[in-house]
């Protein structure tokens, strides 16, 4: 395959076409960076995803200064005990400093004085995206959240679309008749359910058994893996995989039905090549182009589903970080008003990820789909 002149093969042409697309390459780079950061998360960031530091809770990003609220004193005050009706609770919670803009010495202030209270610390470059309400570094949590997304998308696509989908598609297409009918009817059945409810049912049924099973493995292995959130990954990926194989199976089946008519397949059958070998060596390679297109088109969907289900509490459970959970915890107008960075950074990362997936899917489609132009 590496001989000079063999670059006229379908793969080489497609790859070259893809590399010629700036958008596609840019998307691929962004995804490689994001996935790389996710996979090597412990090496990339100096913090752990659960390292709490309440002293710097809700610290904004570095380009934002300390948040200071100024208000006129309306309640009466005595001495230097800070009995300020409206701000006392906040003072305690945020360990902020009170600074008297006017009024008497030693903390004596009078009615009508202006009072300024620092309610959140200034940002610093040691936490580029700021910190959350427990003082955990948000960039670190986003990177670990990306790792969750990476793991879920990879497991789901490899087991669901690739393993299940391609195998069942090959089998259905090649053998036809009853096998074909059964596989296609079951597939139609799964797609006529709303996916959301099926995942809900599946997760509520199998989360605990799978968790027990992982605990059992942990017992034999001797070191702890439950804390890594592996059970959650397995449950959610399995649920998503079960409902994502049919698109791929249908595609592969259709391709196989076409490929089966080819003379080289007939020739292989004639010389007695065993069926699995025919499927793998002669049929499958001719199907791979559309398969790659479909997988890249499905990336955004799986990543979006993970975030969606984690947001609803069905997917990843805390303390395992997930973008969906981070968004869920901060999904309110009051957070947007007082600490927008808590919400906007996870949302921004998710948006970039999904858009890149979509653009990448288009670019791959243009490059690898033989029918595209």
């Amino acid at each position: 395959m590496d001989a000079p002149g063999s670059n006229r093969s379908y793969w080489a042409i497609s790859l070259r076409r893809f590399m010629g697309k700036k958008v596609g390459v840019a998307c691929l780079s962004i995804i490689v960076v994001m996935y790389g950061a996710g996979i090597f998360a412990p090496l990339v960031t100096p913090y752990g995803f659960n390292d709490q530091n309440l002293d710097i809770a809700k610290q904004p990003p570095p380009w934002v200064g300390a948040t200071v609220i100024e208000q006129t004193v309306v309640a009466s005050l005595t001495g230097n005990r800070h009995e300020i009706s409206m701000n006392e609770a906040r003072l305690r919670m945020n360990k902020g400093q009170v600074e008297f803009l006017s009024g008497g010495e030693n903390g004596q202030i009078d009615l009508g004085d202006r009072l300024s209270v620092q309610i959140s610390p200034a940002g610093s470059w040691s936490h580029p995206f700021g910190t959350d309400r427990l003082g955990r570094d948000i960039l670190t949590r986003i990177i670990y959240g990306l790792r969750t997304t990476v793991i879920i998308t990879v497991i789901t696509l490899v087991t669901g679309s690739l393993a299940l989908g391609i195998t069942l598609g090959l089998v259905a297409g090649y053998f036809g008749r009853l096998v074909d009918a059964v596989i296609m009817r079951v597939g139609e059945l799964t797609t006529s359910f709303p996916e959301f409810f099926l995942v809900l049912i599946f997760v509520s049924a199998f989360r605990d058994p799978i968790k027990e099973w992982v605990r059992g493995i942990e017992g034999t292995l001797g070191f702890s893996i439950v804390q890594l959130g592996i059970a959650d990954y397995l449950v959610l990926s399995a649920a998503l995989a079960i409902f994502s194989w049919f698109g791929m199976a249908r595609l592969v089946r259709g391709q196989v039905l076409q490929a089966r008519e080819n003379q080289y397949v007939e020739a292989a059958q004639a010389v007695g090549v065993p069926t699995p070998r025919i499927l793998l060596r002669h049929v499958l390679p001719n199907v791979m182009g559309p398969v790659i297109v479909l997988v890249s088109a499905g990336l955004a969907g799986v990543a979006g589903s993970e975030v969606f289900f984690s947001f609803l509490g069905i997917g990843i459970q805390p303390p395992t970080p997930s973008l969906g959970l981070m968004i869920f915890e901060n999904a309110s107008i009051s957070v947007l008003r007082s600490n927008p960075h808590l919400l906007l950074f996870p949302v921004g990362t998710l948006t970039v990820l999904l858009f890149t997936f979509n653009l990448l899917g288009d670019a791959v489609n243009d490059a690898f789909n033989p029918r595209a132009r």
Binding site: L189, S192, F193, P194, F196, F197, L200, I201, S204, A205, D208, A300, G304, V307, F308, F311, L312, G313, I314, I327, F328, A331, S332, I333, L336, R337, P340, L343, L344, V347, G348, L350, T351, L354, F355, N358
Partner: protein, 315 residues
């Protein structure tokens, strides 16, 4: 066509029975015994046994399932485990109605805005407006709800301060506007793209030229000849494209503090409140499947050429 609908109709009870059976079995044999949960930590086994007997929990699973199904047909989904003494109906109906209203509002916004934008782009084909609209719809279609909801909040509530942000006041309340738009954005984009392409198809048809040639006003031509024919492909794909959007209402409800099904579902899920989960799943699946069917039934109405029942196409 008719055979297709007949097959869909035949699947309907199968799907619903399957879903209800699975959810029911999970509720009975899933983790956590409802009676022990009801009794608390310290309970007398004899009492538990008596309650189980009383509620028929010791019967064969199919007997229990049959009884459950019978109750469901009479509109009774049983009692919630978590909120003791309250029926699922009482908990669910009000919240479902809220979510349904939100979905209807989003649907109306998607269709009206989407169709207008699509028509506008098609009538201005080739101009800056057209390309701009197409680009906007491409973005709008894939923008995640997780960005739309806080984005709209930031722009309209915090910066411009012109729309209320939080809570629920019914269908005719200004508080429904932002969440409905947030839910509607992908729908607007999808409908606009569909409308644009199908309108462009129709614009080139002979009957449009004929209508203009016989002196009909431009408004009549657009309404009667262009829009009506352009809507056929839009309607047929509408159901499938919008079904997925319904589930974003769970997210929107959280962002905008709307007391819909979303929060109840999350709570029930954590508390393993199976009667509630079962009811939501069953009702949700039924509505989903029925909506799909409805779309199939609607388009013969729009296009008299399409006939159900496999009749002649000679007209």
């Amino acid at each position: 066509m008719g055979a297709y609908i007949a097959r869909r109709l035949a699947w309907l009870p199968v799907i619903l029975l399957l879903v209800s059976f699975i959810t029911f079995v999970l509720g009975r044999y899933g983790p956590g015994d409802p009676v022990e949960a009801l009794m608390g930590q310290y309970h007398d086994p004899a009492v538990v046994e008596r309650i189980r007997e009383q509620r028929g929990l010791n019967d064969n699973v199919f007997v229990q399932y049959g009884r459950y199904l019978g109750n469901v047909f009479q509109g009774d989904f049983g009692d919630s485990f978590k909120f003791q003494g309250r029926s699922v109906n009482e908990l669910l109906l009000k919240k479902m109605w809220v979510s349904a209203q939100l979905n209807i509002a989003a649907l109306i916004i998607s269709v009206t805005l989407g169709v207008s934008i699509g028509l506008f782009a098609a009538l201005k084909q080739g101009t800056f407006w057209d390309t701009g609209t197409v680009a906007a719809t491409l973005v709008g279609q894939s923008v995640p709800i997780f960005l739309t909801a806080p984005g709209l909040l930031l722009i309209f509530a915090l910066w411009l301060d012109i729309l209320p942000t939080h809570g629920w006041g019914g269908f005719f309340d200004t508080r429904i506007i932002l969440p409905a738009i947030a839910m509607g954005v992908p729908g607007i984009a999808i409908v606009a793209r569909l409308t644009r392409s199908s309108t462009l198809d129709v614009l080139g048809q002979d009957y449009v030229r004929t209508a203009r040639a016989k002196g009909l006003g431009e408004g009549t031509v657009r309404r009667r000849h262009i829009l009506r024919n352009a809507m056929i492909p839009v309607v047929t794909t509408l159901g499938f494209s919008l079904a997925g959007i319904a589930f974003t209402s769970f997210i929107v409800e959280r962002f905008f503090g709307i007391p819909g099904v979303g929060d109840l579902l999350i709570e029930s899920f954590f508390a393993r409140d199976y009667p509630v989960i079962n009811a939501v799943t069953l009702i949700g699946t039924t509505m989903f499947v029925l909506a799909m069917l409805l779309v199939d039934l609607i388009y013969p109405v729009l296009d008299p050429r399409i006939r159900l029942g496999g009749g002649s196409v000679a007209e």
